[in-house]
């Protein structure tokens, strides 16, 4: 029994603290370079700050931005997206409600797209937003946060250039 425990301990120690050989150094360097590349270009770690996407996303949270999301497909209605604001330093987390050519309006808090009331199960609160109809320009998308309890004047939403699309949150 004692011999077995000692053997397991040895293996764990060897796994966690391997001898610093040349081979190990090369392997560790490759992993470090690959991880840096992956987390700086493909899957970006992001801190969530702000209540504009509540209740879908908490006021303070963490997620990853999955950049390949729109490499092979176009954005669709209802997609939650991450948009460049000041480079990658600050990004916006919003939901797409309008695509190029769509007419968007808010009437008594209801989202009206192309004349139809859109059911939005992700917004749990009732609001009184009013916004005149407007047509989304080419190469632009219309984004809004899920939190409609805030005053319309303080909420950052609207039409934004598609080139600012950075990706989608992983969860």
């Amino acid at each position: 029994m004692t011999f077995k425990t000692a053997c397991v301990g040895k293996h764990i120690r060897a796994f966690l603290l391997p001898p610093l050989t040349r081979r190990f150094a090369i392997r560790a360097s490759i992993i470090a370079i690959a991880a840096t590349g992956f987390f700086s270009t493909i899957c970006l770690p992001m801190k969530i700050r702000g209540a504009s996407m509540m209740p879908t996303y908490p006021e303070h949270g963490f997620t990853f931005c999955w950049r390949p999301a729109f490499w092979f497909k176009s954005p669709r209605h209802g997609d939650v997206v991450i948009l460049r604001y000041t480079g990658r330093q600050t990004a916006l987390l919003k939901r797409i409600v309008g695509l190029p050519g769509d007419t968007i309006a808010f009437e008594s808090g209801n989202l009206i797209r192309n004349g139809h009331v859109i059911v939005e199960p992700y917004t749990s609160n009732v609001c009184d937003w009013q916004l005149e109809p407007r047509v989304v320009s080419q190469n632009h998308i219309y984004v809004v946060g899920d939190n409609r309890t805030v005053d319309i004047d303080t909420h950052m939403f609207g039409e934004i250039d598609e080139k600012r699309l950075l990706g989608t949150p992983l969860w």
Partner: protein
């Protein structure tokens, strides 16, 4: 013999194309660096920390003027600046705006430089103006910038600048 001559000619042609392409790429990347430097200079000239003296303000504002052409077309409706402005007017406006603040910082993000002609460039960038007014009010404004640059006497100078909102309702 003829085939050998032809192959040398082909190699020479490929070499020439490669040299011309590389020199063009290097030239344009060099020009892009110069434009980037002008934007950095603008950022340095506009930004200031709290407690910076009046002389420093004046000198920096003068430097701001050196980045613009004799006449520049500005379209910044949010600050009430629309039309053609001389260097002196731009410096005066910059100094006036700085005098209403206790600290100011201007940063550029997502820079795209397009050089359609050797002496003309179009720049698209995101600008962040952050600071505090004399009354203690903090501001943090982010806008999209479209700027035209012309190469005048060997220097890339602003000839037009349009400021737009990033997200519009």
């Amino acid at each position: 013999m003829v085939t050998k001559n032809k192959s040398w000619l082909l190699i020479g042609l490929i070499g020439l194309i490669a040299i011309v392409s590389i020199s063009l790429v290097l030239r344009f990347s060099n020009e892009k660096r110069h434009i980037q430097k002008q934007l950095r200079r603008l950022s340095d000239a506009v930004s200031f920390a709290s407690g910076e003296g009046l002389i420093a303000h004046g000198l920096k504002s003068k430097r701001t003027g050196e980045l613009f052409a004799e006449e520049t077309t500005l379209s910044i409706p949010v600050y009430g600046l629309t039309g053609r402005y001389s260097r002196t007017e731009i410096v005066q406006n910059a100094l006036g705006a700085k005098n209403t603040c206790t600290r100011l910082s201007l940063d550029f993000y997502d820079l795209t430089i397009d050089i359609p002609e050797p002496s003309r460039a179009r720049v698209n960038t995101t600008a962040r103006l952050k600071g505090q007014t004399i009354s203690g009010e903090s501001f943090n404004e982010v806008r999209e910038l479209y700027c035209d640059f012309n190469k005048i006497n060997g220097h890339w100078l602003f000839t037009a600048c349009t400021v737009d909102s990033i997200i519009t309702r």
